[in-house]
């Protein structure tokens, strides 16, 4: 049954981002700037998933991301899987990997950090990838997973 539902919205060429935690769907949309593009896209949320219980999925027609861009979503959806589609066929599968540096996506959780009072693009070094911990390049404080806010 599930397969059938997915078939309906199958795309000819583009990218499918699967295994997104439902809670992270709108963060993924924000990180990739999907609210600002005109391409055809299908979003599904709270779908059945063996792995996550429930999952969200995004299908983007005629969009292919460079690795450095798509890897940014690993911050909120570390288990996301990518399927690259050409002529209705999956020609490549990819996993996402948290990059070593995060630039301009996350807000520093330190209220006394200069990035929260001047117009500055935030910059973090990823000091832990399993349990995500980001060290602010400016104030040198750690922003952890629980306190991560996407700009």
């Amino acid at each position: 049954m599930k397969d059938k539902i997915l078939e309906v919205s199958a795309i000819e060429n583009g990218t499918v981002i699967d295994h997104i935690p439902p809670k992270a769907l709108f963060k993924v949309i924000a990180i990739l700037g999907l609210d600002k593009i005109d391409n055809q896209m299908t979003l599904g949320s709270n779908l059945q998933s063996k792995k996550l219980g429930k999952k969200a999925i995004v299908k983007l027609s005629e969009i292919f991301f460079p690795d450095k861009d798509i890897n940014k979503i690993a911050l909120v959806a570390p288990q996301a899987k990518l399927n690259i589609i050409k002529n209705y066929k999956v020609i490549e599968k990819k996993v996402v990997e948290i990059p070593d540096d995060i630039i301009g996506i996350v807000k520093c959780m330190n209220p006394k950090c200069i990035t929260n009072s001047e117009r500055i693009i935030t910059r973090f070094k990823v000091v832990s990838k399993n349990e995500v911990k980001l060290k602010c390049y400016y104030c040198e404080k750690i922003t952890d997973q629980d306190n991560m806010e996407i700009i």
Partner: protein, 302 residues
């Protein structure tokens, strides 16, 4: 080091530290040198810090330079809503070097990116205060004759004290053994312990401030601040447990010296001041030499 900003103690290498300390020694022997003639140093103090500012200004004056700046932001365009970005852009035009103290963390790193002249961080909130650390290193080397293989006791607030964190990072390059004495609420944060483990250094944590200090080469005292406690009864209970008194120094080593970044409140009893092991006032004087050395190295004028 020429034209390089000094924002964080980790910006400079071990050999840079030693170069700064050697030059500071030279300034201690000959404090007055006219090498900053025609140079202008801006001291931008967005929050007041009398001791740090005066020691920087004294350093510039002894080298024949001129100082412009302000000692708190209330008399500046900041009150009109000017951004730090604009302030730094403008001030860069008026000087050869910026010395800045600012209440927000990361402000000095940001300023160093915008400024067209080098920036020395004189304290950015609770984050970094590298010239304090360098003067601590200078005081340690001067009193112990070396920096390697020392046993350092840090007492009081290990959690929020930026001076202990920076000193720990710097001294961890010199094979130090550390002892941290603090209440449970103010223990050394995990990230620093991880660092010490990763470089293979020994450290010990203690709750009681007792005669364990007999092994110490250096005791670094800090203030236990009331505002760090959520439970004020707990504060009243702990504040007197981390006070150094002269009688505690009986069985300590001859070479022991007591340091404190100052200002002190009550954590060092005044009866310690007379002890030859008390070094905190001389430590403050060393701040001028170390700042002379840093300024002249960054301007490439030594």
């Amino acid at each position: 080091m020429k034209n390089k900003s000094l924002v964080s103690i980790t910006d400079f290498s071990k050999s840079d530290y030693l170069k700064i300390l050697d030059l500071a020694e030279e300034y201690e022997r000959h404090p007055v040198k006219d090498i900053l003639k025609g140079k202008v140093v801006a001291t931008l103090f967005f929050e007041p810090s009398t001791r740090t500012r005066l020691s920087f200004e004294s350093a510039v004056n002894k080298m024949g330079g001129k100082v412009i700046g302000f000692s708190d932001s209330s008399s500046t365009s900041v009150t009109k809503g000017e951004s730090l970005y604009d302030t730094i852009k403008i001030v860069s035009n008026y000087c050869d070097l910026i010395v800045m103290r600012h209440p927000l963390e990361g402000s000095a790193r940001f300023a160093s990116e915008i400024a067209t002249v080098p920036v020395i961080n004189a304290g950015d909130g609770a984050n970094q205060h590298p010239t304090q650390t360098l003067l601590d290193l200078y005081s340690i080397r001067k009193t112990q004759g070396k920096l390697d293989n020392l046993t350092i006791f840090m007492v009081g607030d290990m959690k929020y004290g930026r001076t202990v964190h920076s000193l720990l990072m710097a001294m961890s390059q010199f094979n130090a053994t550390f002892h941290f004495i603090s209440p449970d609420e103010l223990k050394m944060p995990e990230e620093y312990k991880i660092h010490l483990r990763s470089v293979g250094l020994r450290f010990y944590e203690h709750k009681d401030f007792t005669d364990i200090i007999s092994e110490a080469d250096i005791i670094y005292m800090t203030r236990v601040q009331k505002e760090r406690f959520s439970d004020l009864i707990e504060y009243e209970r702990t504040k007197n447990a981390y006070v150094l008194k002269n009688k505690m120094l009986v069985n300590t080593k001859e070479n022991l010296r007591i340091l404190h970044p100052l200002p002190r409140v009550n954590e060092i009893d005044q009866d310690v001041d007379q002890s030859p092991k008390a070094y905190y006032f001389a430590q403050a004087l060393n701040g001028v030499y170390i700042r002379q050395a840093i300024i002249s190295l960054i301007l490439g004028l030594n």
